[in-house]
């Protein structure tokens, strides 16, 4: 702990660790020192001069954003010279700033507006011509309005330091200075929109939101991103039923202010024109819209018939449906239909990790660990592409705590830029490469091992054994690909393991097994698209599909039931680090129903009693019965993440590394969901460009 120093700010005695910046010390004491360029977590600029304060014994006003608190310092933040200076800084800022607040996207959330309101003067003495440059579009999602820019360099820093992309720069000098994209007139970057989010004014605006509404006309719903498994919190702004904006306005949750392109913009899939809004039934070989009642009745009849005659079911479950839906679905399969033929697309060998950890409850890392652990080893994953939040946290950790990162990957990755060591190796050679790092790794205080889908089956056990042999505390993250990939396993969407990795008596068929079987009577597909990867071998299988779009699988279905998107329902998701968070409905699509409701209705139609199909009820059941899910309700209820811990003493394994198939998504692709986001598909530049020297 650093030494404490005593200072007074506005007459109040304050004690703070030596080295704390005066602006932060004041903030902790509840004294606001206004600032534009200062932004916690990023490098210091001292450029806006809003934070100038009076310090006794110092000849000039001092920038509180760069002044470390010193013993005996006497600071005044509201004295006459300070207030006058603040007013004059705002006057300078507004000189060339267009006064287009009535149409500016930022109106109502603009820091310059707020500051002018609090500290500014009503009258303008600037009567000269304003300096003007035209607005520019830099990418499908990023627009830049030069005159509005106050040159606080937040965007440049968040792109450089936060994202590690360095796509933004500053050109010209003096009054002509402007922010510039990396390729003359356009951006080639992650399109994460972090620059837009961090811009205090309306200089950077987003292609999805600009000029569409005002912040106060929207309803803001905090929910969880539907794409990758990192589980970022996103606040969706809706007007009516339409989602207009995604950001993480309140900076809460595991991702703080971070969101990638998908979390920020790709919500638009939910209003894609091809969205299914009515159940479809095959009539004379063609799918025709029918009523929910008719469709449900047909499904139930078929299921009951097949069940009664002891026919074969195959159930392909989803990596994106909620824990409640997953739990209910496997219960439906096992109790309702009497089958263990249930599986999903597995992208990481979580099962092998749970087995290898053999009951060690402290070895599963959280997202916070990624930011705080002193060293990490990344194996077989391009995090910046596949796990943007983990990559962001790792960079922040390195920046703020000088943590060490080691990479063992096939190709170059963004982490190489700051890595303590980087090793390239072909798939299969990872463990050997990792062994080569033994000496360096064993000198670390602790280690976080993050491994991708290429480490599977026995390799996972070997990796854990290697970790054990280092003699330091080691934690693990087994990477999986989709928003509830982890929850799918935890909830037992597996032919051999039930919820909480409990073995079942008679293991059922795996997903490829079902697809290859020639005698399947029913293929029930919930929120997945197996026909995109497999042929269906049973010609006579009756196919029921719960989907948002007419995917390859849905097109082959006998009955299609339109499902709600993650942004349209309640429930919980478990992210890649096992953290469980709550979804809240932001939008609604008429005609579609949440999968849980569909499951419940089919069950009712079949006369099965599987319990009430409300998400809170099912969640209660999960908390009571699924290992590791007895999580505190208040955490979940208040929008925070609760870590689940399903480890147990070994899982009787039938190792099937062949079933682990990472999707290899990039920042701009995400299985079938991604195809239906216009924003994602409009961003054609491949960010891999940035990796080239």
């Amino acid at each position: 702990m650093a030494d404490l120093v005593n200072l007074t700010i506005n007459g109040r005695a304050i004690q703070t660790p030596a080295g704390t910046l005066v602006i932060d010390a004041a903030k902790k004491a509840g004294i606001e020192i206004p600032a534009f360029c200062y932004y916690e977590g990023y490098s210091l600029q001292a450029a806006c001069r809003m934070c100038l304060v009076e310090v006794e014994k110092m000849p000039k006003l001092q920038a509180a954003c760069t002044l470390p608190a010193g013993e005996g310092m006497v600071v005044r933040t509201e004295s006459e010279p300070v207030v006058k200076t603040r007013k004059s800084m705002l006057e300078f800022l507004l000189a060339n700033h267009p006064l287009d607040c009535p149409v500016c996207d930022k109106g109502g959330e603009c820091e310059l507006q707020d500051m002018s309101f609090r500290y500014g003067v009503g009258e303008s003495r600037f009567t000269e011509m304003k300096h003007h440059v035209d607005e520019k579009q830099w990418s499908p999602v990023v627009f830049y309005d030069g005159p509005r820019c106050i040159l606080c360099y937040r965007c440049v820093r968040v792109c450089n330091e936060g994202m590690g992309v360095s796509a933004l720069g500053v050109i010209n000098r003096g009054e002509q200075s402007l922010i510039t994209p990396n390729f003359e007139d356009h951006l080639e970057c992650d399109e994460c929109g972090m620059c837009i989010d961090i811009c205090p004014v309306g200089a950077l605006t987003s292609g999805t939101y600009r000029y569409r509404t005002r912040p106060w006309e929207m309803k803001h719903t905090g929910t969880i991103c539907a794409f990758c498994s990192d589980g970022c919190k996103t606040t969706l702004g809706t007007r009516g039923h339409e989602i207009i904006r995604g950001n993480n306005r309140d900076r809460s949750g595991i991702n703080g202010e971070f969101l990638c392109m998908k979390g920020r913009y790709a919500f638009d899939f939910i209003e894609h024109p091809e969205r299914l809004t009515s159940p479809l039934m095959k009539v004379n070989g063609k799918l025709e819209p029918v009523s929910w009642a008719k469709a449900l009745e047909a499904v139930a009849r078929k299921f009951t018939e097949v069940k009664t005659r002891g026919g074969r079911f195959g159930i392909a479950a989803s990596t994106k449906t909620t824990n409640e839906e997953n739990y209910y679905l496997q219960k439906f399969a096992r109790q309702g239909l009497g089958t263990n033929n249930i599986d999903h697309h597995r992208s990481g060998d979580v099962v092998a990790l749970i087995d290898a950890l053999n009951g060690r409850a402290d070895a599963l890392a959280t997202m916070q660990d990624v930011y705080t652990m002193t060293a990490s080893l990344v194996i077989a994953s391009d995090l910046a592409q596949e796990h943007p939040l983990i990559a962001f946290q790792l960079r922040a950790n390195n920046r703020h705590h000088q943590s060490n990162t080691y990479t063992v990957t096939k190709g170059p990755v963004r982490e190489d830029k700051y890595a303590a060591a980087s090793i390239r190796c072909e798939e299969g050679g990872e463990l050997e490469a990792v062994a080569g790092l033994r000496e360096q790794l064993s000198k670390e205080k602790e280690l976080l091992v993050i491994f991708g889908g290429a480490i599977k089956g026995e390799a996972v056990g070997k990796l854990v054994a290697f970790g054990d042999s280092l003699g330091i505390p080691v934690k693990y993250i087994c990477l999986v690909d989709y928003s509830n990939s982890r929850g799918a396993m935890d909830m037992g969407l597996l032919p051999d393991l039930g919820p909480g990795y409990e073995p079942v008596d008679q293991p059922g068929m795996t997903l490829p097994g079902m697809m290859a079987a020639s005698d399947l009577d029913v293929l029930w597909v919930v929120g997945s698209n197996p026909l995109a990867r497999y042929e269906l071998a049973s010609p006579g299988a009756f196919v029921v599909v719960q989907e948002m779009f007419l995917t390859e699988t849905a097109a082959r279905a006998d009955i299609v039931l339109p499902a709600s998107a993650a942004y349209e329902k309640a429930g919980t998701l478990t992210n890649v680090t096992g953290e469980c968070q709550k979804l809240h409905a932001a939008g609604r699509t008429m005609g579609a129903k949440p999968d849980l409701e569909i499951l419940g209705l089919i069950a009712r139609e079949m006369g099965l009693n599987l319990g009430i199909w409300s998400s809170s009820n099912v969640f209660e059941e999960i908390r009571k019965s699924v290992r590791g899910y007895n999580i505190p309700l208040p955490i979940i209820a208040t929008g925070q993440a609760a870590q689940t811990n399903p480890v147990k003493g070994g899982v009787p394994l039938r190792p099937r590394p062949d079933l682990i198939q990472p999707a290899g998504n990039t920042l701009f692709t995400s299985g079938s969901l991604g195809r239906y986001s216009k924003k994602l598909t409009s961003v054609i530049e491949y960010p891999g460009q940035l990796y080239r020297p």
Partner: protein, 439 residues
């Protein structure tokens, strides 16, 4: 080549070899005492060298006048990082043209100064940052550096004494702000010439974040004679608290403009009348700037009784600055002068901080208007007000440099602004009584 005839009143210490045939060559230099001080310094400890410089009362000649010995003393003795010598040859303060004279005529003097500084702090490499416009000086310096390498004054194991020092030239590309030391370092690292947050100062974290001695050309050039004469004797050339001689650039309305080496404390009157041959055309002096356009302007009456040194100028509310004396006679249009000065700062503001970026641009627009006689008395107040709002609040001293002359001109020559407005408005019928006269 000499640029102007010397004056008999000069005390030629730094410039003593100027005017000798082939003065830039190492032969001429060595034949006239060159590198002797460096050889002497090789016999001295680091502390001894720094002590001599402290004794000399040498204050930085780049404009800020910081005591050089003290600055060298800030460089950590022990450092795991390499240390660097950086020469500020950016010479871009309007009114200043002295470093150029030194480099062009006696480049080896600068090299020798760098060598001694390197000895004093334990630096192994140095860079001479030359403003882009002085391209021809790079040729002269590179040639001199080559000669010094050939004679064993630079490179490895210098003069067989186990000392290493490499010296390189580096060109700027046109930016006044790169004269500011931290912006210079940024530029030397291949970036935009934007100043850094200080502290840390270059002595602790300078080039590549390593300990760095950064001084003006003239400062380094003074060092050999300090070592040669001894610090105390050198100090005695000047006045108490300000040792030695200073290269003074006489510019503007004097008969004999030029660069002259004068002892500190030299009377202004004698400088203008005797060294400079009096005001051009026998006119009266209206305004006087002692050290580059960044200094507050004095009226003629204020300036005449002063002496050219740090304290005397500070007492009169201005600064000795870089030695670029700007003299304006009674016919000078002070509004136009204020505009031209602000035109410069607006052009050169790096744009980093709000008050400088916006303030200079606004003032330039405002002064342009006032220079054309468009405006009201309120606008004249606004000029002073805006300058005031910049003063002491900007990220680096460029903002002050813009504000100080402007504020002083408005304060001291306000009547000229008003006269201009009145003249212009009288020329337009009905304008004088028009309440909406602000165009």
């Amino acid at each position: 080549m000499l640029f102007n005839d010397p004056s008999p009143l000069e005390v030629k210490i730094l410039t003593r070899r100027l005017g000798l045939p082939n003065s830039a060559s190492i032969e001429t230099n060595l034949a006239n005492g060159g590198y002797k001080s460096f050889e002497k310094a090789l016999e001295m400890t680091q502390d001894q060298i720094i002590q001599e410089v402290k004794d000399s009362n040498l204050r930085g000649r780049g404009g800020a006048g910081f005591p050089t010995g003290m600055k060298w003393g800030f460089v950590p003795r022990q450092s795991p990082k390499p240390k660097y010598i950086v020469v500020n040859a950016d010479e871009s303060e309007p009114g200043t043209c002295k470093d150029r004279v030194l480099i062009e005529n006696d480049p080896h003097l600068l090299i020798e100064g760098c060598l001694i500084a390197a000895q004093a702090v334990g630096a192994k490499a140095g860079y001479i940052y030359v403003r882009g416009e002085y391209r021809y000086l790079i040729g002269i310096l590179d040639k001199a550096i080559g000669e010094a390498y050939a004679r064993g004054y630079l490179g490895k194991n210098i003069l067989g004494r186990g000392v290493d020092f490499d010296l390189y030239t580096h060109t700027g590309a046109g930016a006044y702000e790169c004269g500011e030391e931290s912006a210079l370092l940024e530029s030397l690292e291949g970036k935009r010439g934007q100043p850094r947050i200080r502290p840390p100062f270059p002595a602790v974290a300078g080039l590549y974040q390593c300990p760095t001695v950064l001084n003006n050309v003239e400062t380094y050039c003074a060092v050999p004679s300090i070592i040669e004469m001894g610090g105390k004797a050198w100090a005695a050339l000047g006045i108490p608290k300000a040792g030695g001689t200073k290269l003074t650039c006489l510019t503007g309305h004097v008969n004999r403009t030029g660069v002259y080496e004068l002892p500190l404390g030299f009377p202004v009157e004698k400088m203008i009348n005797e060294v400079g041959g009096g005001i051009r055309g026998g006119k009266k002096m209206k305004a006087f700037i002692p050290g580059g356009s960044s200094c507050p302007v004095l009226t003629g009456e204020e300036a005449w009784p002063l002496t050219m040194d740090y304290d005397s100028m500070a007492k009169a509310g201005t600064m000795l600055g870089s030695g670029g004396v700007i003299i304006m006679d009674e016919d000078t249009d002070m509004v136009k002068a204020a505009l031209r000065i602000m035109h410069f700062y607006a052009h050169e503001s790096c744009g980093w901080c709000i008050p400088c970026r916006e303030g200079t641009a606004w003032l330039k627009k405002l002064l342009t208007r006032l220079n054309e006689g468009v405006g009201t008395a309120k606008d004249v107040d606004l000029v002073g007000d805006l300058a005031d709002n910049m003063l002491g609040k900007t990220f680096c001293p460029l903002g002050d440099a813009a504000a100080l002359p402007t504020a002083s001109i408005v304060r001291k020559f306000r009547h000229e602004f008003e006269a201009k407005l009145a003249r212009a408005q009288a020329a337009v019928p009905g304008m004088a009584n028009n309440p909406f006269a602000i165009v």
